[in-house]
Chain length 534, copies 2
């Protein structure tokens, strides 16, 4: 028997909106729509409407644990639907409309979604897939039917209670092979993530902050910002589209202090600003994640007095895994040291543990030199994907991220490659990304790709594919001599091929998968001879 | 069966020190000793020593759940002992050496402490009480025996694991009546409190912060700072004594950015600074709590560009219940509005719910006018005191704080009285504190106390006791006319008595208990007549 106790207070998601309604009820939630119009609501209204929605969901027969899908951009009705779905005890399934049709069919059926809330803009998509979605019973268009759907609900509805380990969200990741996998977020994991996220060394959110996430709500819950906002009472600004001109107006008009997005978004914003002389208003902090932030981008923000938090994460980590808030020594670091620090992918908040391991699973030193498979664990890291019969993190909870990274003595993590792209040469790893970045630094090289080719002695050796810049006639010797100045001798590619173009994925990334397919029969001409030479 | 899951990662306290050791291993922990010397350690050493201590505790026969007591001021060995006690699975019992001897005997016996770690300065106390402490088997003096005790332990000791709801700490509150009651902190409650505490709107702690809590580690765990420090990697500065001159040197030399303490401490510091021209170095944020911060004190800090967070809490709330971080509207508020805001006791972080109720338990409006019994609930609020057989918070978890407060529409809370001191007049409440503060504003009044006296019609009416300033000859008419300008007519005391002195408690507070005893037979001379007059 317990001799005494602190209170039972399950970490249930709806406590976030209860808190915001009570303590920050009038705090604005702004939506900028694709047509340029602006609408405003607040937590008091969102809470009341979420109750109506939860009640309306129950009225059409949805029950605790049922999946409620959304196919929508960022706006306040979408936000209301999130809280309404979870308030009914449902599992919010945010569908990424950019997936291929077959993936959209697969995930809605796999999730067994019972109801879908969608933006009018996605009506053609919905109409095209309706017949193939086997479990969706109700369709609610946000613009046309959401208000009347809410109208059928009771504003006095009581949130469905339950265990803090109950699921509350579902988000699919589209891997490069096989079907998408669903990460089933829990009430507890989401609350702990939100509590960690507002800390000064993560997103640094307070009641005075004005936050504009330029990340879709269907991408790992817009990096958790819509859960962190009610916790702090910050002003939340949502934008249904990301055109740089509109975004700059929004930053200025709404006095945005904090924003977050992928490098591609920021590139577009920076180009627009450089061209038009627009500015970012009151912005003081940007979080950049999703893929590595180029140094020039980090410098651009720093030059304007804007703090850069370089982040790493994935759907499987809710998504914050690490973030590059300034370390203790920041003020005594030189500009170059600060740049180097920020160019890495940050350090873990309390709640995330990180390690790197070699192919045999042996932990490697945190010396900034060793590079290995990045593994993480913590209360907001996936244990088992939805409906899988095996744990994704079976080995003492260590989840293998598929990234290859180095851990530095100062605690920062540096992604060096994707595990499937790394070139394994004689038991050592060559980073394809570093090789490519180095080659692109050679005058006359427009783009480069490095892939591993089987080798009789070294298992794999690098093949470098180079696209020349327009009008350039750079040759192999020039590339080799450039590389020699920047990389270790054993990283030199065993062959360099000049090609007219390289294959890319739909999101503009190099398609290593296609390249490996194209070059699957490639062999180094003098592989045996080279063995002798080494 | 679960369809998917996030990871199991119990919120166990030792994860804090694991995190700090791994991510902020070299971050300094500074101790300023009473003799003026300074010693330095860091999380790597504290973690290693905590393992040794946990192992040594196990070696002398302590087991999970056993109570490990400390009787010590703030220093790094005390900190090590905290983590060592919890790492062994023990319950850290921090004893307040300022308690009366009989209370010290009671609590150590009630806690069934098995081992005591104490400062050499408390040796006379230990020697005097040893015979009366029935359960303490081992005594370890920090200065003389701690190092050798650690020496018997293994630095490779594995923390004792368990449920996150296991107890990890025990702290007794000395109520004004009856025996002290023990609050039994849990691993989970302590972690959630620490996560909430570092947020920008609470203590605002980052890896760059340098924190000096001027609160004893035996007072509600120094307001949780020693748990929050390893979470963020801030530098922790501990001081074994609080003499203002030494403290000012410490602020300057260690570049302290954040501090926390009760008004009495800050009064001493301010006096010293005003007298000597010393300064507070890099200090940018102070948290003031324990009792209400005078407006002049708040202004003093504000005038120096130092942010003031006015906090409220108690041992039963771990202790942070509310803190006055700037609201969304801060920048558009006038200086007077900001002062008024800061003079109240702040707003709740996510995790604390607050309400005020009347004597019948009916919730009162949050209108800034209604005043009622302050009740709180949340994951770091006590449910049941140690070894009690009834819950302290039985009514839907609402814990009655014993304070009387108003809740303002902006979410801030304002303490108006202690519930036992409030004067209940005809169903309405008169704040004894406000009456006293008002009377003290009358020229010639040095000190004042208001207590309720039974009244045939109104249940209670105020009796005001006044101590004149040296040489002053203020009379009843002057006091009444002063009061009339500031308070409602029905708050006017029914009698004013001039006395030579007022009774105080050991900590310098007015002893209302003694006063009520002294005046228990007092009756208003014209009580019946006054009934007619009203």
């Amino acid at each position: 028997m317990k001799l005494g106790a602190m209170q039972d207070w399950p970490l249930r998601l709806m406590r976030l909106v209860d808190h915001a309604e009570r303590e920050h009820g009038g705090r604005e939630i702004v939506t900028a729509w694709a047509d340029g119009s602006i609408t405003r609501t607040n937590w008091r209204e969102v809470a009341a409407n979420a109750r109506r929605m939860a009640s309306a969901l129950a009225a059409v027969g949805l029950r605790k644990g049922d999946r409620v899908a959304t196919l929508a951009m960022n706006h306040a009705s979408h936000l209301t639907a999130w809280y309404g779905a979870c308030g009914m005890g449902g599992v919010l399934h945010t569908i990424n409309p950019r997936l291929f049709a077959e993936q959209l069919v697969y995930i809605a059926n796999h999730a067994e979604d019972r109801i879908l809330f969608y933006d009018r803009a996605f009506t053609p998509l919905v109409n095209a897939l309706k017949d193939k979605w086997n479990t969706i019973e109700h369709y609610v268009c946000f613009e046309d039917e959401f208000d009347s759907f809410l109208g059928t609900g009771e504003p006095a509805f009581q949130w469905v209670e339950g265990d803090e380990r109950d699921p509350c969200g579902l988000c699919y990741t589209s891997g490069t092979t096989g079907n998408p996998k669903g990460v089933l977020y829990e009430h507890r994991s989401t609350i702990l993530h939100a509590m960690a996220e507002v800390a000064p060394d993560v997103f640094d959110l307070s009641a005075r902050s004005v936050v504009l996430p330029i990340v879709p709500m269907f991408h790992a819950n817009a990096w958790g910002v819509p859960w962190a906002a009610p916790l702090t009472g910050c002003k939340l600004v949502l934008s249904a589209d990301y055109r740089p001109a509109q975004m700059c107006d929004l930053f200025r008009d709404e006095k945005v202090t904090h924003s977050a997005g992928v490098p591609t978004i920021w590139l577009g914003m920076i180009e627009h600003i450089e061209k038009t002389g627009a500015d970012l208003g009151s912005l003081k902090s940007v979080t950049i994640g999703g893929s590595a932030a180029p140094r020039a981008m980090i410098k651009w923000f720093r030059d304007r007095g804007i703090n850069v938090g370089h982040a790493w994460g994935m759907t499987e980590t809710s998504p914050i895994g690490s973030l590059g808030a300034p370390p203790a020594e920041w003020d005594s670091m030189s500009d170059a040291e600060q740049m180097d620090y920020t160019a890495r992918q940050g350090r873990v908040p309390f709640g995330i543990e990180m390690r790197i391991v070699d192919d045999g699973g042996v932990e490697l030193p945190r010396d900034g030199v060793a590079s290995g498979r990045l593994q993480v664990r913590g209360p907001w890291v996936v244990k088992r994907y939805f409906k899988e019969d095996q744990d994704a993190a079976a080995n003492d909870n260590w989840f293998d991220t598929g990234d290859v990274a180095a851990l530095h003595p100062d605690g920062t993590m540096q992604i060096t490659d994707r595990a499937k792209d790394v070139i394994k040469s004689g038991g050592e790893w060559i980073s394809s990304i570093e090789l490519e970045n180095c080659a692109v630094g050679c005058p006359g090289v427009a783009e480069a790709a490095a892939i591993g080719i089987p080798h009789p002695k070294w298992d794999e050796r690098p093949l470098l594919l180079v696209v020349r810049s327009d009008g350039a006639n750079v040759d192999e010797a020039s590339v080799r001599s450039h590389l020699a100045r920047h990389i270790a001798k054993w990283w030199q590619p065993d062959a360099i091929e000049f090609v007219n173009e390289l294959p890319h994925t739909a999101t503009g990334k190099l398609s290593k998968k296609t390249l490996r397919e194209q070059f699957k029969d490639f062999r180094f001409a003098d592989a045996e001879a080279m063995v002798g030479r080494d």
